[in-house]
C-alpha cells in the first residue's frame, strides 16, 4: 500500500517544500457530478488538478460486435441506444448508410418527416442538458422546467412512434408508418408551448450572476484542440469552429432549409459559451420544426416508405454516413460483403472524441471547476463507451 503523508497548518511546512503533496483522486465511476459512469483519475496538488485521465469503458456494451450478428432491420434497434438522448438521429445514420448502399430513393414525404423528427429529438436532447447543467452547478429549478418541455414533446413523439425515448420509427426506405390524423396540429402546439417556456431557462440561468461567475472564462477550449481531438457539435462551435453538417454537407431536407438554419457559434470557448450555443441551437431547432411542419402541410399525400424485400441484403462495398447529431458528428462506416448482416459497422460517436479533450482541458483548473467543465462537455456515457 502506498503511503501519503499530509500535514495541516504550520506542520505542513515540514512535509514538503510547499506544504502540499500530490494526491490521486478517483472521481466515479458512480459519482453525482459525472452524470453517468465516466471515471476520472485526477492527480491533485492541493485543490489544483495536475493531470486528468478519463477512464472509459464502464458502459461498454459491445454494440459494434452485436451489429455483426443482427440483420439490417434489427441493427436500427441497437443503434438508437448508444446515445440514449438522441435515439432518432442514431437510427437515421444507419438507415442512411444502408439506403445509400442500396441506391434507394426515399419518398419526399418521408424525408421531410425525418427532418422534423430529428429536430424535435434535438430539442429533447438539448433540454436535458439545459436542465442538468444548472443542476450540477447548484440550481435546482431549471431542470423541472426542462422536463416539463421534454414531457410535452415526448408526448407527441410517443403518439407517432409509440416510444418515449427509443422511437424505432426509421426504416430502411422511409419511416415505419404515416402519422396519426391531426398529429401535425398537436406538434405545432407542443412546439409553441416549449418555445414559450424557453424564456424561463434564459432568465433563470443566463441571467444568474452565480451561474455566470462559475462558467465565464472557465475551461476554455482552444480551436486547435478542437481540431486535434476531433471535437464536434455545440462544444466545437462554442470555440469558434464553425462546422455543422446540416449546413456544410446537407442531408435529409436541410439543403432547402438554409434560410431557417442558423448555426450558433461563439468565440470564447468557455463553459458559458458552450451553454449559450446549446440554448441558441434549441431555439433554431424549434424554428426548423415549424418550417418542416409548414412544408409537410403543403406536400401531396403519398407513401412514407418503400416496399422492402423479405431478406434485406446490402450489396458488397462500403460507405460512410455521418449526421449532425445533437451532441456532434455521428458516423457509421458500413462494410458489407453482400450478406444480410454487415461485415463491419464502425460507429464514430460524438461524445467519445469530445471527452478526450478533458485530458488537456482539466489540468490547471480547480476541483470545483471540474464539475462545471465536465457538465459543459455535454456527453452521454453510452455514446462514449458504445
Amino acid at each position: 500500500m502506498r503511503e501519503t503523508t499530509v500535514g495541516i497548518g504550520s506542520g505542513a511546512e515540514n512535509v514538503t517544500e510547499l506544504g502540499t503533496s500530490d494526491m490521486v483522486l478517483n472521481i466515479g465511476p458512480q459519482h453525482p457530478s459525472t452524470h453517468g459512469v465516466l471515471r476520472l483519475k485526477l492527480v491533485l496538488d492541493g485543490e489544483r488538478i495536475v493531470s486528468a485521465e478519463p477512464v472509459v469503458g464502464y458502459m461498454h456494451r459491445g454494440a459494434e460486435k452485436l451489429f455483426e450478428a443482427r440483420d439490417y432491420r434489427q441493427i436500427v434497434m441497437l443503434a438508437n441506444r448508444h446515445d440514449w438522448l438522441s435515439a432518432f438521429s442514431n437510427e437515421l445514420g444507419v438507415v442512411l448508410a444502408v439506403e445509400r448502399m442500396l441506391g434507394m430513393e426515399v419518398p419526399e414525404r418521408a424525408v421531410w418527416l425525418r427532418t422534423l423528427l430529428a429536430e424535435l429529438n434535438r430539442v429533447l436532447n438539448h433540454l436535458m442538458f439545459l436542465g442538468s447543467y444548472p443542476l450540477e452547478l447548484g440550481g435546482i429549478t431549471p431542470v423541472f422546467y426542462a422536463f416539463e418541455g421534454r414531457e410535452t414533446l415526448q408526448h407527441v413523439l410517443e403518439e407517432a412512434s409509440g416510444g418515449r425515448m427509443h422511437y424505432m420509427f426509421n426504416r430502411v426506405g422511409g419511416l415505419k408508418e404515416d402519422l396519426p390524423a391531426g398529429w401535425t396540429g398537436r406538434v405545432r402546439a407542443a412546439v409553441a408551448q416549449v418555445r414559450a417556456q424557453m424564456g424561463r431557462i434564459d432568465d433563470l440561468v443566463l441571467g444568474n450572476e452565480i451561474f455566470r461567475g462559475r462558467t465565464a472564462g472557465v475551461g476554455v477550449l482552444a480551436p486547435e484542440l478542437v481540431h486535434a481531438y476531433g471535437v464536434s457539435g455545440p462544444i466545437a462551435r462554442a470555440s469558434g469552429v464553425d462546422f455543422d453538417l446540416r449546413r456544410d454537407e446537407p442531408y435529409l431536407a436541410y439543403g432547402e432549409l438554409g434560410d431557417v438554419l442558423r448555426v450558433a457559434v461563439r468565440e470564447e470557448g468557455d463553459c458559458l459559451a458552450r451553454f449559450e450555443c446549446l440554448l441558441e441551437q434549441t431555439h433554431v431547432s424549434l424554428d426548423l420544426a415549424d418550417a418542416c411542419l409548414d412544408r409537410i402541410a403543403g406536400l401531396a399525400p403519398g407513401p412514407v416508405n418503400l416496399r422492402l424485400p423479405k431478406v434485406l441484403k446490402a450489396p458488397e462495398g462500403h460507405t460512410y454516413a455521418w449526421t449532425e447529431n445533437p451532441l456532434g458528428v455521428n458516423g457509421y462506416y458500413l462494410v458489407s460483403r453482400g450478406d444480410k448482416t454487415p461485415w463491419r459497422l464502425k460507429l464514430r460517436s460524438a461524445s467519445y472524441n469530445n471527452i478526450q479533450a478533458l485530458t488537456e482541458l482539466l489540468p490547471g483548473t480547480l476541483v470545483a471547476d471540474m464539475v462545471a467543465i465536465l457538465g459543459s462537455m455535454f456527453f452521454v456515457v453510452g455514446d462514449i463507451d458504445k
Binding site: 469503458g57 464502464y58 456494451r61 454494440a63 450478428a69 440514449w84 422536463f147 427509443h166 456515457v381
Partner: protein, 252 residues
C-alpha cells in the same frame, strides 16, 4: 411486474455466489465492536459480517412491528444507480409530472450509506458489476433493490454481448423487477407500490432467518434433486420416467 417471493439468502439452500456475499463464517466476538454487516475496508474482498437483527427489532411487540414496517415503507431513501437509458426515465419519474416523492421515495440520499433502496436503472456491464456489488454492500440493513429495465433484469437487448452482465440479480438480490426498454415512469411507480406492499407484509425476523438469532434453517434440499436425468422422447416416455430418479419428469 414480478415480485420475488423470498430473499435469496439462506432459504433456498443454495450457497455462495448468489446470496450477496454475506459470509456465514464468524459471529461477533463477545464485547467486541457491534457488527454492522458491512465490508471491512482493511480487508477488501473478505467475507462481510453476518446480517443480524438488533435487540429492539427482535423484542418489539407485533403492533410496533406493524408501525415500523409502515414507517419503512413510506420513507424509502433511494440511491439511484443510474447507468443507461433507463436512468433518464428514472429522472423523468422524479420530476413534476410523475413525482414519486409523493409516494415516499426520496431521491436525495447523499450516498449508499444513507439509503434504503437502490434502483439499478440501466445496463450493468462486467466492468461495472464490482462497483454495483460494492455499493450495495455499503447500504445499511434492511435494504431493498429495484431492477429497472430490461438490461438490469436480464441483459435485455444486449443479451448476447460479451461485455454485459446478464441481469443484476447475478450479483445482488433483487426485490422487484420492472420490465421495459426503457420502462415508462408509470411502470416505476407501480414497481415502487409493489415494493411497498412487500415491505408492509414482511417480518424482519424471517428476513434475517439465517442470522444467529434465528430458528434452525429448513433442512437442505439434497443435491440429487438438482440432477434430474434427461427427459426421454415421446416414444420412450414411461420407460425413461420409470428408470430415472424419483423426481424425474413428475414436477414438470
Amino acid at each position: 411486474m414480478d415480485v420475488t417471493p423470498v430473499r435469496t439468502s439462506g432459504t433456498s439452500g443454495t450457497s455462495g455466489g448468489h446470496s450477496a456475499g454475506h459470509g456465514h463464517g464468524h459471529g461477533a466476538p463477545a464485547g467486541g465492536p457491534v457488527p454492522l454487516g458491512i465490508p471491512d475496508p482493511a480487508r477488501p474482498g473478505a467475507a462481510v459480517e453476518q446480517r443480524r437483527l438488533g435487540p429492539l427489532a427482535r423484542l418489539a411487540p407485533d403492533p410496533v412491528k406493524v408501525v415500523l414496517n409502515w414507517g419503512r415503507r413510506y420513507s424509502l431513501w433511494c440511491f439511484n444507480f443510474g447507468l443507461a437509458c433507463c436512468a433518464i426515465e428514472f429522472i423523468a419519474a422524479s420530476m413534476a409530472k410523475h413525482d414519486f416523492i409523493r409516494m415516499g421515495v426520496i431521491p436525495f440520499a447523499p450516498g449508499p450509506r444513507q439509503a434504503d433502496l437502490m434502483i439499478v436503472s440501466g445496463t450493468v456491464t462486467d466492468k461495472m458489476a464490482p462497483a454495483v456489488k460494492r455499493l450495495y454492500e455499503q447500504m445499511p440493513e434492511p435494504k431493498y433493490v429495484i431492477s429497472f429495465g430490461a438490461c438490469s433484469n436480464s441483459g435485455g437487448p444486449y443479451w448476447d454481448s460479451y461485455a454485459v452482465t446478464k441481469g443484476v440479480d447475478q450479483i445482488i438480490p433483487v426485490d422487484v423487477y420492472v420490465p421495459g426498454c426503457p420502462p415508462r415512469p408509470e411502470a416505476l411507480l407501480q414497481g415502487i407500490l409493489k415494493l411497498q406492499e412487500k415491505i408492509a407484509g414482511e417480518s424482519l425476523a424471517e428476513r434475517y432467518a439465517d442470522g444467529p438469532d434465528a430458528a434452525p434453517a429448513a433442512p437442505r434440499v439434497p443435491d440429487a434433486a438438482l440432477r434430474r436425468p434427461l427427459v426421454g422422447g415421446p416414444g420412450s416416455g414411461p420407460a425413461a420416467g420409470a428408470s430415472g430418479a424419483p423426481r424425474s419428469g413428475a414436477d414438470r
